[in-house]
């Protein structure tokens, strides 16, 4: 006979292992990271960190490297989000129509999602090679040699080169979500609109856009967060260079962690978390107001 108390609480017993694992590997490290941000924990004195209050945060905002990383991260996020959403939405609309070989196109567009960003970075490094890369070679071949650039080593251009790769990587999952949203819109709306004499632009403005706003919301949020989180693409392509021109939050934290400044890196991570949270919730609130019920 199983005791009543166990019978009553047995669902809880099922989730205990998961909760323990989650606590040990997620909750505890988060709190340790939070605590570490207020200490001078470093590789120099690994086991005796001392409390330094807000010093790490003060140092962060006095560091030109960190300010640069914030600026670059925001620039990357803004451009990456705009282009991924715009191109992703356009591609999804095209693929939602009766296009030949649309399944093949879908596979091609989705393929970057399943490839490791570091591998993609290596491929793009080869594409961007100023001497032997296919991009510059092509430009020279067609007589546009003046447009051939040092794509990854010219500080004014490097960030745009990273963004182009980031957009290509980000398109796959975005298109899938937009497609799901588009397919959920009933064809009846479009038939009625056609009967009422609405053209393509009006159908998009008054049917497609409002009825896929939930897909737009989730996509924008996901792309925005992935933009703020960018690391693998930058690390693999430029590692923050040339001369810090592509330094982002992720590479800044990684560089300081590698230098053994754990407390300082944790403080940067905490600021990063706050920035991501504020951006996400602000955007979420904004989009919620624009969604329509049907």
């Amino acid at each position: 006979m199983i005791p009543k108390m166990i019978m009553r609480n047995y669902p809880i017993l099922f989730i205990v292992p998961a909760v323990i694992l989650y606590t040990v590997f997620s909750v505890v490290p988060s709190f340790v990271g939070l605590a570490a941000a207020f200490t001078d924990w470093s590789t120099f004195y690994l086991f005796n960190p001392t409390f330094v209050g807000w010093q790490n945060f003060k140092d962060l905002f006095e560091s030109t490297g960190f300010i640069g990383a914030i600026r670059h991260t925001l620039m990357y996020t803004a451009l990456h989000t705009v282009f991924v959403i715009a191109i992703g939405y356009a591609l999804a609309i095209i693929l939602n129509n009766q296009v030949k070989f649309k399944n093949a196109y879908r596979v091609i567009i989705f393929s970057p999602v399943v490839i490791n960003p570091l591998v993609i970075s290596l491929v793009f490094s080869a594409l961007y090679n100023p001497t032997y890369g296919p991009i510059n070679t092509f430009l020279r071949k067609i007589g546009l040699g003046a447009l051939a650039q040092n794509w990854l080593t010219e500080p004014k251009i490097a960030m745009y080169s990273v963004i182009i790769m980031g957009v290509w990587v980000g398109l796959g999952s975005t298109v899938v979500i937009f497609l799901a949203g588009l397919q959920s819109v009933s064809a009846d709306f479009y038939e009625s609109a056609t009967i009422d004499g609405a053209g393509g632009i009006k159908k998009f403005r008054y049917i497609t856009l409002p009825l896929t706003m939930h897909a737009l919301t989730i996509n924008t949020l996901l792309v925005l967060i992935s933009g703020l989180n960018v690391f693998g693409e930058v690390y693999g392509l430029t590692n923050g260079g040339p001369n810090g021109a592509t330094e982002v939050f992720g590479t800044f934290i990684f560089a300081n962690f590698s230098q053994g400044l754990y407390g300082y890196a944790a403080a940067a991570g905490l600021v990063f978390t706050v920035v991501v949270s504020i951006s996400s919730f602000t955007l979420l609130g904004l989009f919620r107001k624009m969604e329509v019920e049907y």
């Binding site: 080593t153 810090g244 300082y264």
Partner: protein, 458 residues
Amino acid sequence: MAKRKLSVSLGLILALSTTLAACGGNNGNNGNNAAEGSASPGGSAAASTAAATESAAPAKDPVELTFMGPTSWMAGTGVQDMLKAYEAATGNKIKQEVVPDDQYLNVMKTKMSTDDAPDLLFHNKGFNYIPANFLEPITGPILDRIDPTVGAVTTIDGKFYQAPAAPHSFYGIIYNTEVFDKAGIKVPLKTYQEFIAAADKLLAMGVTPLGLAGKSTWTANQPYLVGGAYVFAKNPDLAKQISTNKIKPADSPEYLEMVNRYVSLKKYIAKDYLSSDQPIIQKGLLDGTIAMEFYPDVTYGDFEKEDAAKAEKLGYMPFTLGDDYIAATFPPTDEAALSIPVNAKHKAEANDFINFATQKDNFILLNTKDGTPGSGISPYKDFTVGLNHFQQSMADMIAANDIPAAPFLLGYLDPNFQLGDFNKHVNDMMAGKAPAQALDDWYKDYAKVNKTAKTEGF
């Protein structure tokens, strides 16, 4: 319910704080530990001699020493042969712990901090890589054999912590002798003014005076480190003041002047230097389209492999940004070194090992790669190592012109001083940032690291 949530959260934070506090109690790495239980090198001459004699003799009770090193170094046949020679000579066994290069420092420090330290470490020399408080002082005959200039870099309060395990190389200028002859330029260029005059001549000839393989971020610092050494050589107090936070580099007129002179070289460097990698510069130097390059002398083999006949026409010379000081400079840090963790289990045997490995034959064996012995300046007084063409060229030039050999810029700074991201401010200046601003940004960066490392004065 809210109260319950709050108490759970507080409990969690308390538990975490306790965990951190408990960690703090297990202080295996403070500065005092390094000093404890270690003999003063100065007072251990008799013990040292005895240790050296025993180091080559078979051990009475053989022990197993753990030897930790980065993958690329440990793969060398010379390293493996030297370890076998040690085992054969002493009867002790060597257990190798090989760690991927990019994870080496972190793994090493973590192992030492968790009391899982190996007996011997093979690493880049300098306290920027491993602070002295992690290490046991090295004793024995090595203290009498080490070149004092080299030894000073890893000596604190008379205690010697890291033994050089590779010859030192000169850092200077590779130049194309034929181009120089054609331009009528006589070497060495003993002052900054002579260098500028020569670079102007080369520019007028349509040759790129300077090549820098800027794709590797460290190359831009070469003229700075080599040419800037004069500022500390002439005023060692300034190095001490910067190392102990008594003055910021940007606030020193001498230092700022040196950096301005460094920036003035930009005019002579190939335009797309950030995209240039070494093979491009190497080819330019061999073909004579580039007249000079700042690069370490150990790279001669690469030039020789590309075109042995043309490589013979290249020379190597010292460089200065000063008005009246020039030296053949070498990096006091970065080369391979051997050391003993403060919590090694077999400290005495590890110390004997280092004395054994730094003797002439073993040292040469240790530095042999693919059957070719390493070349450069021996860090030990009792033997020399072979020189390659660049090194010989430099040796001949400094002998003929009575030029001293001395550390480059960083060799004058206090051994405990943490550099921070030195290369960043150098590259910033090359990218157009005002020198004073770049120096201040570097100061903020290194002050942060030194504060954390509890360096004196920060």
